[in-house]
Symmetry: C2
């Protein structure tokens, strides 16, 4: 047995190396690559992807897994090796179903679709993107057809991001959440709006960058195993448990976003940095799902980073760095400003009270596309009417509407709901953490985050992909993903801020 599992580990390690190399190439593409390098980079990524797929789907892997599955059948669930075999077998079963010609076709279609989307978005003209999106949806349907018929065709897509999660489960969770969030927003809209003008003054970019880096360091992001670079969009990327990088940007009209993006991406990064080092180059490396990942980023960004105790600690530092911008602004007003609720067009700029509604809209649209129940050409109207229904605003153009997100253009259908699930999980974990660490708020108000990070490391991070997301949430909180803690969190927070 030990020989076979070592053989499997060796192959998976090499596949992981190819994956990490590809991740670095992508990171470079978004940070430092000169414009001329794009075409060659696409070819390099295609080759690495192809070789990785070949390695991961080789007959040798199939045979090793067949033998190992039998031998590990009924093994202790806490065994790392058993978990590795289980996760590797699932990865393999998925990968072999997808023919390599499909992967090549997908690469070609999505490369063109991405370019068309970028053009369409810049011109606010959905018709440029429409034929490409139609092709992407056809491809996605074809992809679904490679898998056994589930309860819903969308299940196969969701499963790639949330292993084990079913469409019906997500819908049930969202159905429990939607009316509560809509109700809350309505209640807030009747209250006087908070003032946040001082957040939109001119802030010095370098100073904000350093402040953001300092906050990430304070949280526990390990800079000897990471770094923060400029990129068009903030993201986290991991090439090893010991090399987990984040990117950030500066938006002159929304300067504080740099601080919250640093918190968010550091949250992702600390997850990857906290994985059991012995999982390096195995099937268990990396976070277990996008929702669990997002629970970490959103926890640091919102439950910590937009909380009053945190700013009790850090606001004096910010004021010191920006005395003129924050002149006369007290802690309470600053806290209210960074938590202002206002229905808006763009998901990534949405506040905590409205964010999930953006996601629900997208999930509904995606399911309808996969079911073939809507015509792609009608998407802008559908989008806008749902925006009006859920958020009470209608995008004035497609750039601010259906064209705002990159996901569909690169074929990532099935991804969006993990953002909202992540919010829910963050609050669900938060309730448990506050039971386990009684003085958490006090600690945070003193700038102490080690107990919190320690809890996350022990309960979430170190496990990597060992437990599926719902299993992990159940194990840690006693129940599967549920919307109640998030609703409680929002109500408490905004009752205080808006005096509901």
């Amino acid at each position: 047995m030990s020989e076979k599992i070592n053989q499997l580990k060796q192959i998976i390690a090499e596949a992981a190396d190819l994956g990490s190399a590809a991740s670095l190439l992508s990171w470079d593409q978004q940070t430092y690559m000169p414009i001329g390098g794009g075409e060659a980079r696409g070819q390099q990524l295609a080759t690495l992807g192809k070789l990785r797929h070949q390695k991961a789907t080789s007959d040798e892997v199939g045979k090793l897994l067949d033998d190992l599955k039998k031998e590990f059948n009924g093994a202790d669930a806490s065994s790392d090796d058993a978990a590795m075999v289980r996760v590797a077998a699932r990865d393999y079963d998925k990968a072999v179903r997808v023919p390599s010609e499909f992967i090549s076709e997908q690469a070609i279609v999505t490369t063109k679709a991405y370019e068309a989307w970028a053009e369409a978005r810049s011109k606010s003209d959905f018709s440029i993107f429409r034929p490409h999106l139609e092709k992407v949806v056809e491809l996605v349907k074809k992809y679904v057809s490679f898998f056994p018929k589930g309860d819903h065709p969308y299940d196969a897509l969701l499963d790639d991001y949330e292993p084990g999660m079913k469409t019906a489960e997500v819908q049930a969770i969202f159905n429990g959440l939607r009316p509560k969030q809509v109700e809350l927003i309505k209640a807030i809209s009747k209250r006087p709006q908070v003032n946040d003008k001082f957040l939109h003054k001119k802030y010095n970019e370098n100073k904000l960058w350093d402040f953001s880096a300092g906050v990430a360091r304070n949280f526990g992001y390990d800079w000897s195993r990471g770094r923060m670079d400029k990129a068009p969009h903030p993201f986290e990327s991991s090439f090893s448990i010991n090399d987990v990088r984040i990117t950030n940007r500066f938006e002159p009209n929304n300067p504080l976003a740099t601080v919250f993006s640093a918190m968010h991406e550091a949250g992702h990064a600390m997850y990857e940095q906290g994985i059991n080092p012995s999982y390096e180059r195995t099937a268990l490396a990396h976070g277990t799902s996008l929702a669990i990942h997002e629970s970490q980023s959103r926890m640091w960004e919102n439950l910590v980073g937009r909380s009053l105790p945190f700013w009790e600690y850090v606001y004096p530092q910010l004021k010191k760095a920006f005395p003129s911008q924050l002149d006369g602004v007290g802690l309470k007003n600053f806290y209210k400003a960074i938590n202002k609720v206002e229905p808006s067009f763009i998901r990534v700029n949405a506040d905590e009270a409205t964010y999930n509604l953006h996601i629900m809209l997208r999930l509904e649209v995606e399911i309808a596309m996969v079911e073939g129940k809507i015509a792609i050409r009608e998407l802008p109207q559908i989008w806008n009417s749902k925006m009006e229904e859920y958020l009470g605003v209608t995008p004035p153009n497609d750039t601010l509407g259906v064209l705002q997100d990159i996901h569909w253009s690169i074929g990532s259908i099935g991804y969006f709901s993990t953002y909202a699930l992540g919010n829910l999980v963050s609050a669900q974990l938060w309730e448990q953490i506050n039971k386990d660490i009684k003085d958490l708020e006090t600690q945070i108000s003193k700038g102490k985050f080690d107990s919190l990070l320690g809890w996350l490391r022990d309960n979430i991070h170190k496990h990597g992909r060992k437990y599926d997301p719902q299993v992990l949430v159940q194990k840690v909180t006693g129940s599967k993903i549920t919307p109640e803690p998030y609703v409680r969190y929002l109500k408490t927070k905004y009752s205080n801020i808006y005096g509901l």
Copy 2:
């Protein structure tokens, strides 16, 4: 035929992608990688290297090449496809001779040797490095044994860097050169020394960096297909004909080195940027040899960058950027200062008159090591006595002596002579260029480099690896590599500066 050559090209393209990915990983390791990422990076590079070797030495490649060699036998020498088959066959013949276990062993030995060298160098204690160097030399001898017995065992090593070049040829060239350079240095040493104190004042790093970047741009380095980053050592690295990057550093005690390093690395980079775009991802991509590469870097750094006409053009800009540092320093004195001749311990800091002697010393030592004629433990004494003999100086310790260069620690034996050959080729080409471009000096004194770069593109760059180095030099200058033009160049230059 066209089908088989396309199959071969496809495989070589994928091997090239793996090579480019590995190059980017190495570049990142030396520029941005956090310290923690080192171990994983080593594994990733090992995996990419192994897969590339497997691909390049597959039976499929062997069979395709067998067939293609027959079909292209006697083909028009100017045919790109014929050249590709010839070069690919040579690469293949070399690669298949080296067992993959040897490559793994080499990786392990040199990783440890590199670490030992770094420690030995920092402590100036050769004994730390000695046992590792002994192993490296054993490995190198083993490597030689994989190849047919040549005229000299060192031939197989040299051939990896200078295809087709023989040890005896290099020795003959160096024997013609050595007495002339020794004689020149003696003559210079009898003349009053030039003053270069103003070069060692405090210069602002950012300003020098920008000035250096401006010079590279002026030369013709294409920044849309390149960039310059900070690294512990300046180097050039290419991931595509359209993504050729350079690195640079700032030495507070030798601030102007940043400018000359930028010229040097831009010289390498312009070679790679100038290769026929249709050679991308083929066996003909990249420069044809290290000597030809070095001829390009040294030409821009020295024949252009340390020439009077160039500084006639650019000195006013430098003076404007550094008015206090260069206060009262006229063009002529500045020119003399940057060309100061002074025998010194460190190769990379050596001036044009002494540089090649550092190389000759190394070549002699390397040949003796490979022949087994010297004991490694005697190396420091041998080194020091040769330094005294050629340069009239004795290193006070091993850090300034035998431990100064990284090459042996990473197994690069056979490499050094290409530096000196590059100097010779640069002068040899320069004589030809001045025949072909009559007013070259005038152009340079006006900051116009496009004729020069155009000449280099047409005669050297665009060919990539199509012609072997000696063939290329013969084709362009009418003779193989010869020391006379370099000797003439040095004599003229230093007669003027030192009034010989």
